[in-house]
Symmetry: C2
Amino acid sequence: MQKIIFGFLLFFSAYSASAQSKELINIRAYCDKQMHQWLAEYTSFLGIPNIASDTIHIQKNAAFIQQMMKNRGISNVQLLAPKTIGIPPVIYGEVIHPGATKTIIFYAHYDGQPVDSTKWAKGLHPFKPSLLNSSLENQGTIISWPDQTAEINPEWRIYARSASDDKAGVMSILSAYESITKCGYQPSINLKFFFEGEEEAGSDHLYEVLEKYAPQLQSDLWIICDGPVHQSGKKMVSFGVRGDTHMELTVYGSKRPLHSGHYGNWAPNPAMLLSKLLSSMKDDNGNVLVKGFYDDVTPLSENEKKALKEIPSPDNQMKKELGFLAQENDQLTLAESILNPSLNINGLQSANVGKLSSNVIPTTATASLDLRLVLGNDFRRQQNKVVAHIKKQGYYVTDQDPTEAERKLYPKIAKVILSDGYNAQRTSMDLPIAQNVIAAVKSTTSDQIVLMPSVGGSLPLFVFEKYLHAKTITVPIANHDNNQHAENENIRLQNLWNGIETFAAIMMMK
Amino acid sequence: MQKIIFGFLLFFSAYSASAQSKELINIRAYCDKQMHQWLAEYTSFLGIPNIASDTIHIQKNAAFIQQMMKNRGISNVQLLAPKTIGIPPVIYGEVIHPGATKTIIFYAHYDGQPVDSTKWAKGLHPFKPSLLNSSLENQGTIISWPDQTAEINPEWRIYARSASDDKAGVMSILSAYESITKCGYQPSINLKFFFEGEEEAGSDHLYEVLEKYAPQLQSDLWIICDGPVHQSGKKMVSFGVRGDTHMELTVYGSKRPLHSGHYGNWAPNPAMLLSKLLSSMKDDNGNVLVKGFYDDVTPLSENEKKALKEIPSPDNQMKKELGFLAQENDQLTLAESILNPSLNINGLQSANVGKLSSNVIPTTATASLDLRLVLGNDFRRQQNKVVAHIKKQGYYVTDQDPTEAERKLYPKIAKVILSDGYNAQRTSMDLPIAQNVIAAVKSTTSDQIVLMPSVGGSLPLFVFEKYLHAKTITVPIANHDNNQHAENENIRLQNLWNGIETFAAIMMMK
């Protein structure tokens, strides 16, 4: 499927010009030499379909990864199966040194998002990797795989499902370990490798593995490799994710749709009631007005505050790209905004608009909300603050459609459905091990490292804390514009090379 | 289809116990005698399908009505066809007296709302009339058509499409004329009959008939028989309708849906923007805050104010029936509310709610509004006031999706689509001819007559004013709970008998 011939190039060394350790210089030289071979191995890996429910191909992926690990001299390679039958296994391996005082587990996932191959650009296929000379958005075109003597341009991209999310994690972690050993070095810490196969299907059984294999999975830190680096293209280390939960509000008017001529402006209009209720939740500058909404937030430490200040602002670039001029809160940057708990409307519905709209007073109006949580918030407590706010606006709150009796008793009625959720997770930047990780990543480049106290998105990282009392730090490697979760997913080669180098530095950290 | 045998009953005389003129007493006696025959004729009439687009059946309806008119001795019976080919004709007839000083045209429509017969209750069919011993809501059941000697209970109902809307108008107007002549009386005024066949399809070509036959359609007044009487069950005369127009507002956020974790509370959320915009249009008590919204309203005359005060309040009964406790504006009764211009939300939409909702910041949010207009309002001026309000809230207003350039220039963008519309129509109660109509209707009952300066709904009555400079007064006869426009349409027999008597009194007025 791939026509790759091996060559020897120097993109690793060419990339970072800063003063580096002797070890890193040697590792880079090895990387430059291995590039063609890795490209061949990676495209074979990407050629195996990897939807979590596709059991046969999932087994092939698992076998492929086990072979990659064995080829690299990793010990105790095995499958960790969840208690539930038929769930993709975790592929585990380890490198233990009797004298090591620390253990780090490297996490990535090998399953990918479901695909609709008809949506991929012409000539591309999710499980037949293609090489392009640039991104599609940048008018990139498909090119031949390079022969052994050809130069590999680091701006080239591989297009395939999971090219960035998250086989890139598996590939770069294992190749980092290979580089170290091939250069004759030994990691100073115990390494464990943990590659999940159910992440894009919701990680619903991850806890079963953590519970079952808890003794084997003890560590000082998990390094999570998933997601893209900062929009600026700079390397990133992030120390947390936001928690997430949902609420659905429905307010009520008449039991049957009423003619807006005969009853309009006399009968209550739930669409207007909902507008007023939602409006009451935020001021015009995006600050949430729900009482105590920001109260539980654990303040940032001095280090975190400093890191936050140093995050390069992608705000103007993003606004141009996204087509808006005014952000919701003009006092806060994007990086600052995502360190706050948030209240966001995901959707609104009341009767119909457009061609389906008619002269009615709707009977109900519904809004779906999501609440993002930061360290200190509890998702139930946060939901309850919003419920208290709704009550304060004069609403009787129920969790089902109102009864006849309730309709006769209460002037304003809201049904509030509270979803399940989970809390935020944040590892302190101030921990010595966190400082070591930062120093290791910094050692690979003279450029700035973006340190995110937390990213805006949510992942159930709390399971590591809950079942193993473990700490997690995320070190993403993919390019920001990788089309993760969508058609035309891709990885920029330089991001893959950077990833290998980054993980090698972390494995070598003191 | 119907088994009706003639009998002689006294519901007309039994119904109104007040002192009445000799003429009315005689007319009632005739009505009582004719009841079985009318029932037979009416059920035959209702058995002819009457959707405006069903040309063949529309012709049968037209032929049936022409025959009804000829049987009753009405002159000059003819079809008035709109200029546009294939549109249902108007059936016209007249009774002219050389000495008469006034001419009244009686209007009703013979076409009906489209039907979905599968939605009708078991045993019922829109074009196979059934007799029930009470309303379905009141657990009425289908009964046999009465034989000639059987008593006809005035609480019985006929279930069929157009039983109330609006073949009841045709039937009662023509039977009123029959009663007068059969009793040996002559109307004191010229009568013209005008039965439209395109009303439920929007009366789009009515103006063509009014224009083409203008000389023939000169009159001092049109009496419109359409719609239900007052919710209290009392007879009603209404002097106007509200105008109506629509607006659709769409506000914008990012060009593509954004992840609510990564960008929530930084990127603008159009659902929240729309909620705030809509909220700004009304205070918590339902008063429209759009500048000048109530400015153009023509004040009520003393007579109209007096009539308004005397309207029995159905408010508490309606609220119970409709299942809400708090009306939008607690300072105004339903009757008062509908004499104000209104702003009503017909529908809201932004992304999705419920099972379809996802963690996005929607790209747009849309609201459909209707504006009802009262005498003095101009629909374009009223729309422009709302547009000015939107601009005042900081929005750039356009009539299409924003361009890239507009997105870069304006922090808040609203697309506003203005629909066509029409203004309100109201005939002054103070006119001598209006007073004569009121007196005539009053003469038929000792009960109160509800005089509505205007009803809340909208009809394009302005066309009569525009093309003929004519005045209109509406005299509805159907029961309030007739399921007009929906499945299980019905008429309560007493309402039909009352209608015949009412129109007879109007035809005999001085």
